[in-house]
C-alpha cells in the first residue's frame, strides 16, 4: 500500500512542477523524482513479465537514483548557502572531506574485505552509500544552523524529506545486514512508508515557489582575518576573565 501511495504521489509532484515551473528552480530534484518514478515503473512491469528481472535490474537502477540523490543533497547545500560564501566554503570543504574519507574507507573495506555473495554485497554497499549521504546531509544542516541561516519552505522541505528517507533507509539496511531476511516485510514497509511520508513533505513544500528569506547585506568593514582576530582577542579577554589568574 505504501509503495502504491508513493508511486501515485510522484506524478502529482512532477505534474505540479510543470504547472508552476518549479523544475527550473530545482532541476536535479525533479530529475531524481523522475528517475525513481520511471525506475519503479520499469521494475514493476518487468517483474510482472519475468521473475528474474527485479534481481537483475534492481541494483543498477538503485545506483543511478543514489548518484542523483547525492546531486540533490549537493544542490540543497549550494542553494541554502549561495548567499553566504564563507559558510558555503566551510560546509563544502568539511562535507567533501567527510565524503572522501568515508568513501575511501568503504571502498577499502569492500576491496580487501571478505568476498560476500552478490545480494549481500549490494545491500552492504547501499547501506554504506546511505551512510555517506547521511553524513553529507548532516554537515549541510549543521552549517545552516551554526551560521544562523534561515531557509525558505522549499529548501526546508527538500532537506527534511531527504533526511527522513535517508535516515530510515540507513536504519533498515543496517538492521537487514545484522538480522537478515527474517524481517524483510517490516524493513520494506518501513522504507516504503518513509519514502511516502517524504513524498508528502515534498508535495507540501514544493507546491509553490517560496523564496528564501531576505539575506542581510554584508556592510562590515575589513576581511575575515580581521574579524577572526577581533573575535579571538575578545575570547582571550573573556577566557582570562572567567577561568584565569587574577590580573593586577
Amino acid at each position: 500500500m505504501w509503495w502504491w501511495a508513493g508511486l501515485l504521489l510522484e506524478p502529482v509532484i512532477l505534474i505540479r512542477s510543470l504547472w508552476t515551473r518549479m523544475f527550473k528552480w530545482y532541476p536535479i530534484f525533479y530529475l531524481y523524482l523522475l528517475c525513481v518514478f520511471v525506475g519503479s515503473g520499469v521494475l514493476y512491469i518487468g517483474t510482472s513479465h519475468n521473475q528474474h528481472f527485479y534481481v537483475q535490474w534492481y541494483w543498477p537502477i538503485q545506483l543511478v537514483t543514489l548518484v542523483i540523490g547525492y546531486g540533490v543533497i549537493v544542490d540543497v547545500l549550494q542553494k541554502s548557502l549561495h548567499a553566504y560564501p564563507g559558510a558555503d566554503r566551510a560546509a563544502r570543504n568539511v562535507g567533501f572531506a567527510i565524503f572522501l574519507v568515508v568513501f575511501l574507507w568503504i571502498a577499502a573495506l569492500h576491496a580487501w574485505g571478505p568476498h560476500w555473495p552478490l545480494s549481500r554485497f549490494v545491500t552492504r554497499l547501499e547501506r554504506d552509500l546511505r551512510l555517506v549521504e547521511t553524513l553529507f546531509l548532516a554537515t549541510t544542516i549543521v552549517a545552516v544552523r551554526y551560521y544562523g541561516i534561515e531557509l525558505g519552505r522549499n529548501l526546508k522541505g527538500l532537506a527534511a524529506g531527504m533526511c527522513l528517507y535517508v535516515g530510515i533507509s540507513l536504519i533498515c539496511l543496517a538492521l537487514f545486514n545484522f538480522v537478515g531476511h527474517r524481517f524483510d516485510f517490516t524493513w520494506q514497509n518501513l522504507q516504503s512508508g518513509a519514502y511516502t511520508v517524504a513524498m508528502g513533505i515534498w508535495a507540501y513544500a514544493l507546491w509553490n515557489y517560496a523564496p528564501d528569506p531576505t539575506v542581510p547585506p554584508d556592510d562590515s568593514a575589513g576581511g575575515y582575518s580581521a574579524l577572526a582576530d577581533q573575535t579571538r582577542a575578545r575570547l582571550t579577554a573573556l577566557g582570562r576573565h572567567l577561568g584565569g589568574k587574577e590580573q593586577p
Binding site: G86, A138, R145, A160, G167, I168, P216, T231, R234
Partner: protein
C-alpha cells in the same frame, strides 16, 4: 553490534538535525550595520550599568555577610544569602549571554567571508563552547555553594570586565563619529535636530 549501533546512531543524529532545521533561527535578518549598533549599545549597558567594578564589589564583598553575621538574626542571614545568590546568578547569566551575543555576532559576519579558515572557525567554536561551559560551572557553584564560594574568580571578573569592554570597543570604534556630537542640539529653531 557496534557497527549496527553506529549506523543507527548516525540516522538518529540526522533526525535530531532535521528537527533542529525546522526550528526558527535566532540570527536576525537585519543588516550587519544593525548588529554593530546593537553590539555597541550592549557594550554601553555593560560598561555603564551592569559591570562597573564598585557594583560587583558591592554584590560579592564578604564584609556584608560578616556584618550580618555579627548583627542580625539567622533568618535575616538566610534571607540575605538567598538574595545575594539570586543576584550572583543573574550576573553570571548575563556574562553568558554576552558570550552568546559575541558568538552570534562572529558567525553572522564570518558566513559572508570567502577567505574563511575552517581551522580558525573550528578553534573559535571550541573556545566559545569552553567559555560557555565555564559559565555553566560558575552558575553551578553559585547555585550549590552560594555567592561567596568563588571569590578569586569573581575578583578576576571584576578586574577583567574593563579589558573585555576595551577589546570590544576597539572593534566598534568606527561607530563613534566625532562630528555627530558637534551637531547635536545645535540646530537653529525650526530645523531638524540630529
Amino acid at each position: 553490534m557496534i557497527a549496527l549501533l553506529f549506523y543507527i546512531g548516525a540516522a538518529v543524529c540526522l533526525f535530531f538535525l532535521m528537527f533542529a532545521l525546522a526550528r526558527p533561527q535566532r540570527a536576525p535578518v537585519e543588516g550587519i550595520a544593525h548588529q554593530f549598533v546593537e553590539a555597541r549599545s550592549s557594550l554601553q549597558t555593560l560598561q555603564q550599568g551592569l559591570l562597573p567594578a564598585d557594583l560587583l564589589n558591592r554584590i560579592f564583598d564578604r564584609r556584608d555577610l560578616d556584618y550580618i553575621d555579627g548583627q542580625a538574626a539567622p533568618e535575616i542571614r538566610r534571607l540575605f544569602l538567598s538574595q545575594r545568590k539570586a543576584i550572583s546568578l543573574m550576573w553570571v547569566r548575563r556574562v553568558r549571554s554576552e558570550i552568546l551575543n559575541l558568538m552570534h555576532f562572529h558567525r553572522s559576519h564570518s558566513r559572508f567571508h570567502t577567505s574563511i579558515s575552517i581551522l580558525t572557525e573550528m578553534r573559535l567554536a571550541l573556545d566559545f563552547a569552553g567559555l560557555l561551559f565555564v559559565c555553566r560551572i560558575l552558575e553551578t557553584i553559585f547555585s550549590l555553594r552560594g555567592p561567596y564560594a568563588a571569590p578569586r574568580l569573581v575578583q578576576s571578573v571584576a578586574s577583567a570586565a574593563s579589558r573585555l569592554c576595551a577589546a570590544s570597543e576597539k572593534s566598534l570604534a568606527f561607530l563613534n563619529v566625532p562630528g555627530v556630537n558637534a551637531f547635536r542640539g545645535d540646530s537653529t529653531p525650526g530645523n531638524a535636530a540630529v
